[in-house]
Amino acid sequence: MRAHPGNGRPQARRRNPLLSVAAGVGAIVMVATACGGSGSDDDGVVELRFAWWGADDRHSTTQEVIDLFEAENPDIEIVPDYTDWAGYWDRLATSTAADDAPDIMTQEERYLREYGDRGALLDLNEVGEQLDLSQIDPLVAESGDLDGQTYGVATGVNAYAILADPQAFEEAGVEMPDDSTWSWDDYVDISAEISEATDGELVGVQSMSYNESGFQIFARQHGENLYNEDGSLGFSKETLEEWFSVTQELLDNGGQPSAAESVEIEAGGPDQSVLSTSQGAMAHFWTNQLGGISESAGSDIELLRYPGETTNERTGMYFKPAMFYSVSAGTEHPEEAARFVDFLLNSNEAAELILADRGLPANVDVREHILGSLPEADARSAEFLSEIEDTIVDGNPPPPIGAGEVVNITKRVSEEMAFGDLTPAEAAEQFMSEVETATNGS
């Protein structure tokens, strides 16, 4: 606290002034040395920082992979630098701005261009000698390319799908839908039925409007897409309004949690999903999250195709690169960094540890190698991916710069609609204008 009147303290006794100067100087030295940099040690060992996001189990397996790599490559030391998803991007942005970006990092589709376009990422073609990209699944091989440069290489393959808990369906006495024929109307009806049959004990489905990836499928089913090749909005207002109307219907008929409940569920991440806490029958997630959610739920969650895949104009589901490995443009040791990425990507031993945590491995040989040893849930998602592969029409153009912000816009607009501040039509309008600003603004 600040001094305040009349604290009545007697004056401090005089001390040796030199001593206090020394104390002051000492403090400065302490501060200054704390800012010391890292880099390569004297003994010829190159030190590299590897940044990733995730939950605890990913941190421990990644550390095991690092240990393995270091044992095989005694000339390189990998310093782990991990955090959760939300904190990751703040941290990466600030450290990149401070010219202190991690040498190797995991990236995501919506942010890759943001960094690549501003010259913060290394063109991986430059280190082609150390990094072999020949075995990458052609479906995602070029997903990290931008204007002829490769800013990231896909870690694995993913699809956005519906996760369903058969136990919850049984409890409600509702039959599991046939995902090769179900429509969006079925989806609404079934969800409402579950909530009703269990008297609200179980909720039909977790709100889907919090993630624009689901809308992307919906738009594709209507022959549209979230973004066009040139980065502009690729869908019509009617389609988006229809999408929001599905959620509105579920809010009205009780098929999904109330607005306030949804806010809490979303804040908790996958661990707090209605499936993980056994409070609901369905939720929308990425296939690589099946393992984690099955584990928290303690039951065998199943994967379902999106509704409307066969009843709409065309199929909308797609494969997405789960994440990317990228190398900082500012790294002092691009070749060593590339060797580590090569290890993460192409080594069977690394894959045996990582398994399907970063998506089903992008390297097709490696994928083949671990397929047999996948835990049950991951094996199911691998099977699911191969089942839907034939129905997938095409890939998505890379999201425009600013797409990272769309995550928050989606969330906000959904909330405002759920709390009754916006109608589906108004929500569609607001979403479009905000996304347009976000993706053209920078």
Binding site: M1, R2, A3, H4, P5, G6, N7, G8, R9, Q11, R14, R15, P17, S20, V21, A22, A23, G24, V25, A27, I28, V31, A86, W89, D90, A93, T94, T96, A97, E114, Y115, R118, G119, A120, A259, A260, E261, V263, E264, A267, G402, G404, E405, N408, K411, R412, E415, E416, F419, D421, A438, G441, S442
Partner: protein
């Protein structure tokens, strides 16, 4: 801020904080000693001074410069003149952030100060174990801005939190307070009011400065307790009230941590806890719009500066310095 209080030393001569020139060090063999004392003072001040230049003034000026550029945090930037400031005029979220912040400041600060004064007066009546109470009440001020408390708040006011369990005891089904746009800001206001300890300690010190003889004289004249409060305590305390007001205003305008943690960094639900600083942070670090964020920072500085200036101007009419 503390200069403000020292400008007029309190009446009580025994408790004069700053010695008047000449009372102590002014006597003879003092010249050399004085220089040495100055040297010592500068020695102690050096870390602070370096901090001021490198950690405060440097970034401050840099942000002024960046506010006229399209700086994106990564890569190059170009001079764009007043564009960032012009964009603010049509930014709806900026206005909603201002609204949230103003509501927060103008509701929570008066409540907090009223509570602080009330408790200070209770404690001033000579409670046994005063140091203990003082510490206990002061504790939230130390913790209030911390991440841990914000997380705790989220739990306490959550759908299955302490508050709702308490309400359930009476058969009331409570809301998820932090997840409802009508109540989320309220929980943060309560959090700020709860940190009344810091102004309370200052009020307590101020109350002790009021000479008892005024009260005695008033009591002899038959003044009621309420009358004594309005005509002695309040006027004598106005400098302290003013000090607390200015300080808490400035603090409240810059609230960030609590809103960030309670809303998970989103300012939600539906932007109901989108504080100005939180929006600034989102622009700068989420949307890579650091030029705009810098301009926002300067607008905030001007707003706070403006309010503080008004505060100081108005103080001429209501603050009583006893002369």
């Amino acid at each position: 801020m503390s200069a403000l209080l020292q400008r007029r030393p309190p009446k009580d001569p025994q408790n004069t904080a700053a010695p008047k020139p000449g009372t102590r060090a002014g006597k003879r063999p003092a010249q050399g000693r004085k220089r040495r004392e100055n040297l010592a003072a500068y020695g102690f001040l050096t870390p602070w001074f370096l901090g001021l230049v490198f950690i405060t003034a440097g970034p401050l000026l840099a942000s002024l410069y960046f506010s006229f550029t399209d700086y994106s945090l990564i890569g190059d930037h170009n001079w764009v003149g007043l564009e960032n400031y012009e964009r603010m005029l049509s930014d709806e979220r900026l206005f909603s952030a201002l609204k949230v912040t103003f509501v927060y400041v103008f509701v929570s600060v008066p409540l907090q100060l009223a509570l602080a004064l009330a408790l200070a007066m209770v404690l001033d009546r000579g409670v046994r174990g005063l140091p203990l109470y003082r510490s206990v009440y002061y504790l939230p001020s130390l913790l209030g801005g911390s991440v841990a408390i914000a997380i705790l708040w989220r739990q306490v006011f959550g759908a299955n939190g302490l508050i709702n369990q308490f309400l359930a005891f009476f058969g009331i089904q409570g809301e998820g307070w932090v997840s409802h746009p009508d109540y989320a800001l309220g929980t943060l206001i309560v959090l700020n009011v709860w940190t009344f300890g810091a102004p309370m300690v200052i009020f307590l010190a101020g109350l002790r400065q009021i000479p008892a003889m005024y009260y005695e004289a008033a009591a002899v004249d038959g003044a009621s307790p309420l009358r004594r409060f309005w005509n002695i305590t309040v006027p004598m305390l106005t400098p302290i009230i003013f000090f607390n007001l200015v300080l808490q205003f400035i603090n409240a305008f810059q609230t960030f941590t609590q809103a960030f943690i309670v809303s998970g960094g989103t300012g939600g639900p539906s932007d109901s806890t989108l504080f100005y600083t939180l929006y600034l942070y989102q622009r700068g670090f989420g949307a890579f719009d650091m030029g705009y964020a810098s301009a926002m920072a300067w607008l905030l500085l001007m707003i706070i500066g403006g309010f503080t200036a008004v505060n100081f101007f108005a103080s001429k009419y209501w603050v009583f310095y006893g002369d």
